[in-house]
């Protein structure tokens, strides 16, 4: 029987487009894409992997130790003493090294972390820990793509807290109350320059978290606070502050959510999601080109794609160097 006769009665149907609602995280997707779409495309979308992309030892240690100390506080309702801080740092170190994180000068780094954490506890420990509601708090919300594909927005905030600023007596451009809800984020380094890209990224991140929190609960947090623990490394400033955190101007950076800033961040977020989704529709060979904007040199130097990346001016030299 000919195919014509055989399939005379074949039911015609149309191919359906498969809808896909993807999750996008502020840090691992949006900020990474904005930093460099090529790097983002290769590692986060296409799935190339790099062993050297290990977590930063220092930053991870600071996060892990603060987290553990808070858990101890929750159980015992007292601040950990110096010995307990040292033990906690040691345990966190062993775990990190076992998990494959590579670090140099760890003895010095551990000592430094112990100092920073002890100083932090002295300056803010009690009011801070007593007001924590959740650590590593996940915020997630499905969002209308506004013409572009819908998506799920996700983020993890280091600390969701009650009125820490009020308890610390911090002076703010907006007054604090005992009922405030705050988002706190630990940064292990020093405060970057106010006009730096890094600071702009941090603020962006906080504005998106504020909106996410609003979407989830119906209220905005009173403020988002970036805490630059690395500032406590400065002995002179630390000694001068006489155990009063208010004297250390650079340890905290406060962001009061404003409609305008949040609106701008969210528009940008949506546009970035649309760009990423659009990029996936391009022919394979033209996807994830090097960006047109400048990319921070340190980012390129740490990037394994630099040996062939048209954006990296030293690519030929770096590539031809032995090994």
């Amino acid at each position: 029987m000919s195919f014509e006769r055989m399939f005379r009665d074949w039911p015609l149907t149309h191919l359906r487009e498969v809808k896909m609602i993807r999750s996008y995280s502020v840090t691992t997707d949006i900020l990474s894409y904005k930093r460099c779409r090529r790097q983002y495309g290769f590692f986060n979308v296409r799935g190339y992997r790099s062993s050297s992309a290990t977590q930063r030892y220092f930053g991870t240690m600071v996060h892990d130790v603060l987290d553990q100390l808070y858990r101890m506080y929750k159980k015992t309702k007292r601040l950990p003493d110096g010995r307990e801080v040292v033990d906690c740092v040691e345990k966190a170190h062993v775990r990190l090294i076992q998990s494959g994180v590579r670090a140099v000068y760890t003895v010095q780094q551990k000592e430094q972390i112990v100092t920073l954490i002890r100083r932090f506890l002295e300056l803010a420990g009690q009011p801070f820990f007593a007001n924590i509601r959740e650590t590593e708090y996940t915020l997630e919300r499905s969002m209308d793509g506004d013409g572009a594909p819908d998506f799920v927005l996700e983020g993890i905030v280091d600390v969701l807290a009650g009125a820490v600023s009020h308890a610390l007596g911090l002076e703010m451009s907006r007054s604090t109350t005992g009922n405030d809800v705050e988002i706190w984020d630990y940064k292990s380094g020093e405060m970057p320059a106010a006009d730096s890209q890094l600071m702009a990224d941090y603020q962006y991140q906080m504005n998106v978290y504020a909106e996410l929190y609003y979407q989830q609960t119906g209220i905005y947090p009173a403020r988002c606070v970036l805490m630059f623990i690395g500032e406590l490394n400065n002995d002179r400033l630390y000694n001068r502050c006489r155990a009063d955190i208010r004297e250390l101007r650079h340890i905290l950076h406060v962001i009061h959510p404003s409609d305008e800033q949040i609106g701008r961040a969210m528009t940008d977020f949506r546009q970035t999601v649309a760009c990423i989704e659009g990029e996936k529709q391009l022919p394979y060979a033209t996807q994830w080109q090097a960006p047109n904007h400048d990319v921070d040199r340190d980012t390129c130097i740490a990037c394994e794609l630099r040996y062939h990346c048209p954006k990296f001016s030293d690519r030929d030299r770096h590539r031809r160097e032995p090994l």
Binding site: P11, L15, M20, Y48, G100, Q216
Partner: protein, 775 residues
């Protein structure tokens, strides 16, 4: 928020679906279920399982007022989890658009949705469960093998099961291993890689089946004592190196759930939805019951006829005996619910799959109360819009004795070409070729791919296990090998290398050398890198150090295998290949494998050998690369899977039947339906493990290996046949003789009721009589 009434919920569903409630009567029953008793939903293929369960989850939040953060919804793969998330949010948005304002107060993203593995990992991390904090996960079988082998060369402390002198004991423990070994020539010494493969499976199955180490060690059976020793050693080493594997992470999770902190976290229990329950293993089933807080709010959905993962420890009895297990757990008798209205396939295809699964004695043991299928299961009923008097069921076979693959393949290619040219299909991806294996040298698949190439039909076969043979993959590997071991060291290799690995590498090196003749920049890089190692080695050897030293480049950075991969892809011709998706996926497979290997082997960082060593680079690097890394490669490498889409547009998709689970295609070709299946290590291990499970998890009526193999084969082809929407094309040969064994293996004979089996279908005419059209 006030609860939404069920009537209002249905009304909103109906508005969202152009005025028609998208539920058939059985699906609707699920919405009236009393959740104090478990729900046992048995859903045949194409009966709207995912559709029902996602709406049901929304109903539970809106009507029953369950807090979304107290709902756990698990499924089998990341891909399926992505699909569930999309559907859930999409349905949710539809309810909002339909005016159900109460929906605004719930947030479906708060549901814990994912594979059980991802949920275990996330909860353990969130809860800071001490034993798993910052633990390294061996998240695939290769990594688990790398880990077992890592401890293997340390012959002071190898795992007892892998000790050379214990190979004989391993033989006694693992019949299948014995069978495999005995098939070899006299004096054959099993390579470590093969032993590791068996042992890795044995350990995983033991953990998944909740086999305690102590009972094993106390056993009077010396083989089981031996297994206990090995398992203990494996546990110790995982703990020592702070690693865990895919099975062990579930054990950690169960331990956490049974701890004080875990019980506090569970509180009054979660509302549980478990998809694909037929592929659950005993430890997972324990986890689900624990998560409910011993309440009955557990809804399981699955199809026992589609259980395919015995080889990964799944026990179909979890679903088939769900009522008995619930009652053993102190819960009330679950409510069975059968979804049987199929909206996927042409009636002729539905008829075929019903006959296939519902009559044969393998699936319906005569005179036995043993359950092989879920009790009371009805046949599937066709409710599809796909109708028409065309032959929806085709046989790709002929009367000639033996297989004529090229002949069949040509017919298949012609048909596909016809369907596409005449716009009966819009895209090649509406056609799938399904086979039990997609290695091109098996199931006659090579005949099909070559017929497709000749006809200009694009095809996509990512799981061909042939990636390691791609020339670009081999050239790049050859380049790494040439840097690691320059030419003059060649002679040292065979002394310690596994010969087949070395032979493969020698070819790769040659392929790279040939490439270098036309790509001078690449050649220069390899030469200067070798020279750099030589110079660094001379300086280092002069120090007479007793310990190897890290090899660094001129920027002071340690050199690793993956670093070399990134450097090399910067050179032509590799660089251009990155823009070609097909080749790039192969290069990515190599990249992913290297990084997986490095996670176990000191980040893959290379060291300089001490004075007196025959190699410039440390011997351990060289041995591990050749004997462990290459060993894993030549076992067959697939392209990495895409977590978002299982089907590649623009191509005829060739996939294993396992991969096709959950998918549907307009046109499906099933190859070699008369496949003869044999008992494997899977069945042997299951037999060893069953009596060692805790009593309530034992299968009291375990059938023989042969019977379980036959069951598995039925389920495999049931899944394959039920993927087809418009056209099912079955390829198979006629048996040479009429005997019981051949009857079992004959795809045509299988569809006949037992009494009719005597009337054997031995030729195409007889096949036509039962309504099958011959292609």
């Amino acid at each position: 928020m006030k609860p939404v009434t069920l009537e209002r919920f249905f009304a909103a569903m109906q508005t969202a679906h152009n005025g028609i409630l998208p539920l058939d009567p059985q699906q609707k029953l699920a919405f009236h279920h009393d959740y104090r008793t478990p729900l046992w939903m048995i859903a045949g293929p194409g009966t709207g399982k995912t559709h029902t369960i996602t709406w049901l989850v929304l109903k539970r939040m809106l009507v029953d007022r369950i807090d979304p953060s107290r709902i756990i919804f698990t499924t089998f793969t990341n891909k399926a989890a992505n699909e569930l998330q999309t559907r859930l949010i999409d349905h949710y948005q539809k309810l909002l658009q339909a005016g159900l304002v109460e929906a605004m107060s719930i947030d479906p993203t708060k549901i814990r949705l994912g594979t059980l593995h991802s949920i275990c990992t996330n909860v353990l991390r969130e809860q800071r469960y001490e034993p798993t904090m910052r633990i390294n996960l061996l998240d695939d079988e290769n990594k688990q093998k790398f880990f077992l082998q890592k401890t293997y060369p340390d012959w002071r402390h190898p795992n007892p099961l892998l000790k050379k002198e214990n190979a004989g004991r391993l033989k006694l423990l693992l019949e299948f291993f014995q069978f495999w070994w005995d098939g070899k020539k006299q004096g054959f010494d099993p390579p470590s890689s093969r032993k590791v493969e068996f042992v890795a499976k044995l350990f995983s199955r033991a953990i998944e089946n909740h086999v305690g180490i102590e009972p094993l060690r106390r056993s009077t059976n010396v083989n089981l004592q031996f297994l206990g020793e090995g398992l203990q050693d494996y546990h110790n080493k995982l703990a020592h190196f702070h690693f865990t594997d895919q099975s062990m992470i579930q054990k950690h999770f169960l331990d956490f759930l049974n701890s004080e902190d875990g019980r506090e976290w569970i509180g009054s229990g979660f509302t549980m939805f478990v998809d694909e329950y037929q592929d659950t293993n005993p430890i997972q089933s324990e986890i689900y019951f624990a998560l409910t807080g011993r309440r009955g709010d557990l809804s399981v959905v699955g199809d026992d006829d589609q259980s395919l993962y015995r080889f990964r420890g799944a026990t179909v009895e979890s679903l088939i005996l769900f009522d008995q297990i619930c009652m053993a757990k102190g819960l009330s008798r679950p409510q069975p619910l059968y979804l049987f209205e199929n909206r996927r396939s042409h009636p002729a295809i539905v008829d075929w799959i019903n006959r296939f699964i519902s009559t044969h004695p393998t699936m319906h043991p005569i005179g036995s109360s043993m359950r092989v299928r879920a009790p009371g299961k009805p046949n599937i009923v066709s409710r599809s819009n796909i109708r028409g008097q065309y032959p929806a069921l085709l046989a790709l076979t002929n009367d000639s004795i033996g297989t004529r693959d090229d002949h069949d393949a040509l017919k298949a290619a012609n048909l596909i070409q016809y369907l596409k040219t005449n716009h009966l299909i819009e895209d090649y991806s509406q056609v799938a070729i399904l086979s039990f294996s997609t290695a091109e040298d098996s199931a006659g698949l090579a005949a099909y791919t070559s017929a497709f190439r000749a006809a200009g039909i694009p095809y996509f076969n990512p799981r061909s296990k042939q990636t390691q043979e791609h020339p670009v993959f081999r050239q790049l590997l050859g380049a790494i090998s040439l840097i690691l071991q320059p030419e003059h060291e060649h002679h040292v290799q065979p002394e310690f290398a596994i010969r087949k690995n070395w032979n493969y590498l020698v070819e790769c090196r040659q392929m790279c050398r040939t490439l270098c003749a036309t790509h001078r920049e690449l050649a220069a890089y390899i030469e200067t890198s070798v020279e750099e190692i030589r110079q660094k080695s001379t300086i280092f050897r002069a120090k007479n150090s007793r310990y190897p030293e890290y090899l660094t480049n001129s920027r002071g950075r340690r050199v690793s295998f993956s670093h070399l991969w990134f450097k090399l892809i910067g050179f032509e011709p590799f660089l251009s290949q990155l823009s070609d998706m097909h080749v790039a996926e192969k290069l990515k497979a190599l990249n992913n494998l290297i990084v997986g290997f490095e996670a176990i082997y000191d980040q893959g960082e290379l060291k300089l050998a001490t004075a007196g060593s025959p190699t410039l680079v440390d011997g351990n690097n060289v041995i591990e690369f050749c004997n462990i890394f290459i060993d894993a490669l030549i076992g067959g490498v697939n392209e990495p899977e895409d977590d978002e889409s299982a089907v590649r547009k623009g191509y005829v998709n060739i996939m294993t039947i396992h991969q096709s689970k959950g998918l549907e295609f307009d046109v499906v070709f099933v190859l070699k339906s008369n496949r003869t299946a044999f008992a494997s290590d899977t069945h042997g291990i299951e037999r060893i493990i069953n009596p060692l499970r805790p009593p309530h998890l034992r299968n009291p009526h375990m059938r023989s290996d042969e019977e379980r193999v036959a069951e598995d084969n039925f389920r495999l082809y049931f899944v394959a046949y039920s993927r087809a929407k418009k056209l099912l094309c079955i390829n198979g040969v006629f048996p040479l003789a009429i005997d019981d064994y051949k009857l079992r293996m004959n795809p045509w004979g299988r569809v006949l009721p037992h009494t009719e089996r005597r009337a054997m279908i031995g030729n195409v005419q007889e096949l036509r009589k039962i309504g099958v059209t011959i292609l």
